[in-house]
């Protein structure tokens, strides 16, 4: 019986082409309508250093990279050492390596060892060692009956720039590997092959790409940003595609300038966004407050990485929550959204623009490295998702003189004129101001203007309650978590439910204003509440406490530092503990 789910990992160093081979496997899976989920890891060296991927393929949607590997390919054992924590094979796994490069003394790992002629076949088929990765993909296809079809298109697309000759050699190497694999396919190997009937091709997207697509769909026509891992793909996407839509893109001199440019563009009536990671986000907090005070729409993406300070730039963590919700001096309302899977990144971008434009305030999207840089397959993107615009002065709004900060609307929003409109001329300021926007130091005005600005959050909280809920309808144990942790949790909950456990999960995607009532309703029937987060300081748990009274005696807090993904088995263990 073949598996419906296959987890492959590979590791090597510069020149081994490990990452490309992973991408080809993904492309091949997608072209056959399979689901895929791939993450990559790199050592600190930019070129020639260690790299690895782990990819999971399945006939059903998967939401985590899986815990243990079915297949591990090792090109370089020293490199393997570096990622051995992330790439642990199952007992039943197959471990492939080059026959010239056998398992060194002292390396202990489970699974059936298979030496394969990666180097030799590469050399003979393509004339160089460069195509080892193609041989590997071929061997996998042959051995496990997976990834063989569709690979040609993938190679052509990925290597298009390198020219015909290179493509040809690579395909030959692939073929050599494939024949070798087929010839050597043991019965055992066949067992872990995927059995599937091909479906229509799927998209392959990362969270960063989905988010950028969402922004363009929402009408974003200005992007300014400064490179920073793991958000740079958004910048690069915009630098490539924004122009085609007639928009503007600027790589700013720093993050202070990025958010400044965004506020400027938005003041001019253009939907605008920036993306960064923790260090850049910290630099933006002063002007985040300016946006809040001036009531200017702006979308700010923070792709979280391990902190504090520079931390571990290439690894995920959930520790920018406090900065997103509480960062900047003064009482400065903003909205915080937290997508929890790749498709959500698209939605979050559209929602962020909608909320930001309609309520005239900055919206922060908290993504994270695992969400942003993983690649998954998706059936489609909802390109009909509704997009709304800004409230501008209507006929009559300027009567008796236009007031940019007119009080009295129920939702705190006042029509915002776009420069160019002769009836809407106004001057805005980060100083406290009156309805016209003129500076004031009146305490009374300060109080009513604070009230106006915060009223928007109330209106948003009433209207939007982005929450994902999974699992049993009458749960005894409930899991609270957010962001990319959802993947492992969803899977663990499904497994527990299958075993009859009454478990459910609650994943808020609107973090601020918090969907309080929904959470209270979720909490009520629970015997145990498990809060899971990747923040040493337990930022989510403590944040929840600011807004509601958690039933402390029933709460189990599972928090740890980021830097390593949340595993499905980790969640399962937490569920079992809660059920005890």
């Amino acid at each position: 019986m073949a598996a419906s789910d296959l987890v492959v990992g590979a590791v090597g160093r510069g020149g081994d082409g490990v990452i490309l081979s992973g991408e080809l496997l993904m492309a091949s899976a997608a072209s056959k309508g399979l689901y895929g989920y791939m993450v990559q890891s790199y050592g600190p060296q930019i070129r020639g250093g260690e790299s690895s991927f782990r990819a999971r393929f399945s006939v059903e949607q998967v939401s985590s990279p899986g815990d243990f590997l079915d297949i591990l390919v090792v090109f370089d054992w020293a490199a393997y050492e570096m990622f051995s924590n992330e790439l642990v094979p199952k007992e039943s796994a197959f471990v492939l390596f080059d026959e010239d490069n056998p398992v060194p003394e002292g390396v202990r790992l489970s699974g059936t060892k298979l030496a394969a002629p990666f180097a030799k076949l590469s050399k003979s088929a393509s004339g160089s060692l460069q195509a080892k990765n193609m041989v590997m993909v071929g061997i996998l296809g042959g051995l496990f009956g997976f990834g063989a079809e569709g690979i040609g298109a993938g190679v052509k697309k990925r290597l298009a720039k390198k020219g015909e000759e290179v493509i040809k050699k690579n395909l030959e190497a692939f073929e050599a590997g494939f024949s070798y694999g087929t010839a050597n396919a043991t019965e055992a190997a066949g067992k872990i092959g995927l059995e599937y009937s091909p479906g229509p091709p799927k998209l392959v997207l990362s969270g960063n790409e989905a988010l950028a697509l969402g922004a363009l769909h929402a009408g974003c026509r200005f992007y300014a940003g400064y490179p920073i891992t793991p958000s740079s793909e958004i910048l690069e996407f915009m630098g490539k595609n924004m122009w085609k839509f007639g928009g503007s893109f600027i790589q700013a001199e720093d993050e202070l300038a990025s958010i400044g440019m965004v506020l400027g563009a938005s003041f001019g009536g253009t939907k605008a966004m920036t993306a960064t990671s923790g260090p850049g986000f910290s630099l933006m907090t002063e002007m985040l407050g300016l946006g809040s005070m001036m009531e200017i729409p702006a979308v700010i993406v923070d792709v979280q990485r391990t902190g504090p300070s520079t931390g571990i730039p290439t690894k995920s963590e959930q520790s920018d929550l406090w900065q997103a919700v509480f960062g900047t001096h003064g009482d400065a309302p903003r909205v915080v959204l937290a997508p929890s899977d790749v498709e959500d990144c698209f939605h979050a971008a559209v929602d962020a623009f909608n909320i930001s434009e309609e309520y005239q305030l900055p919206v922060v999207i908290l993504s994270d490295q695992l969400l942003a840089q993983r690649k998954v397959t998706l059936s489609s993107l909802p390109l009909d998702k509704a997009v709304v615009g800004r409230r501008t002065p209507a006929e009559g709004d300027a009567e008796g003189g236009y007031c940019r900060y007119r009080l009295g609307s129920e939702d705190g929003v006042s029509p915002m004129a776009v420069p160019g409109d002769p009836r809407g001329i106004y001057q805005t300021t980060g100083l406290e101001h009156n309805e016209k926007g003129e500076p004031t130091s009146s305490f009374e005005l300060h109080e009513v203007m604070n009230e106006k600005r915060y009223r928007k959050l109330k209106a948003i909280a009433e209207r939007y309650r982005y929450v994902r809920r999974y699992g049993a309808s009458e749960p005894e144990v409930g899991i609270l978590a957010w962001g990319s942790s959802k993947g492992a949790i969803k899977e663990a909950v499904a497994k527990a439910n299958a075993k009859g456990r009454k478990v459910a999960a609650f994943i808020p995607e609107l973090l601020y204003p918090f969907p309080k009532h929904e959470l209270e309703a979720f909490l009520k029937p629970l015997k145990k509440v498990v809060i899971i987060e990747l923040s040493y300081a337990a930022q989510f748990y403590k944040y929840l406490k600011t807004f509601l009274d958690l039933p402390e005696e029933r709460v189990i807090l599972k928090k740890r530092s980021g830097g390593a993904f949340l595993g499905v088995s980790e969640v399962e263990a937490a569920i079992e503990e809660a059920l005890k």
Partner: protein
Amino acid sequence: MSDQQRKPNDYKNPLKPVWCPGCGDFGVVAALYRALSQLQIPQEKIAVLSGIGCSSRLPGYMATYGFNGVHGRALPVATGLKASRPDLTVIVAAGDGDGVSIGAGHFLHAARRNADVTYVMMDNQIYGLTKGQVAPTTPKGDKTKSTLYGNPDPPVDPCELALAAGATFVARTFSADIKGEVDILCQAILHKGFSIVDIISPCVTFRGDDQYDFWKPKLRPLPEGYVPSNRIEALRFCREEGVLTTGILFKEERPGLVEQQKNIRRSAGYDPAAPPKIEELVRAFYP
């Protein structure tokens, strides 16, 4: 408004400036009203932006769109606005602290990008709003609230910095010389690309009531027949001692940010008549 003549006062809003009596900034805003009137730019097509400082109060006194943001960051805001709204005339009013202390990095980069913005630097060699601390333009040796034993550092010259960063229009003038100012401001606003006008604008409160008497004898127009097309030549009128040369020190034609971005859009195949669909982009993500 659009058909009749726009008078200088039509660019003025009713708020009474909070500047100290005698402050140089009164001259700057008056000159700006006149320059805009001379150019007959519709008020609603103008945005005046600033950071924080006495000088940065200026947008609040205009009958145009205005944006008084945070200290030092007006240029990025202006750049974002202009890039996305090339139809607007974008002017930034800045103090010397705002522009060459906290905002120095942005200043350099706006100049380098040749962002199509007119940068009006109200240079008073002091921090006015915070009541008299040293600025990066304060002369060496001067005593201020934060340099009681004399400023240890030499001043920087905003014009010199602008030249080094690649600015394409660099001029200097004096706040009380309204005529000279109006002329230069008009040219600066018409210039395509980044223009900086360094206006010596006395802070009578923290630099002394004698500031006008101090500066007037030092002012010197550019030499007869000076052609402002050579960067190195222009530098001879920077960091001067004893005199202050006024006029357009340097001017160069080089595509501004707006034009550059237009060109990139063209290279990328943007067709305003047939904007692409997001579907087309998404297609690229299928294997």
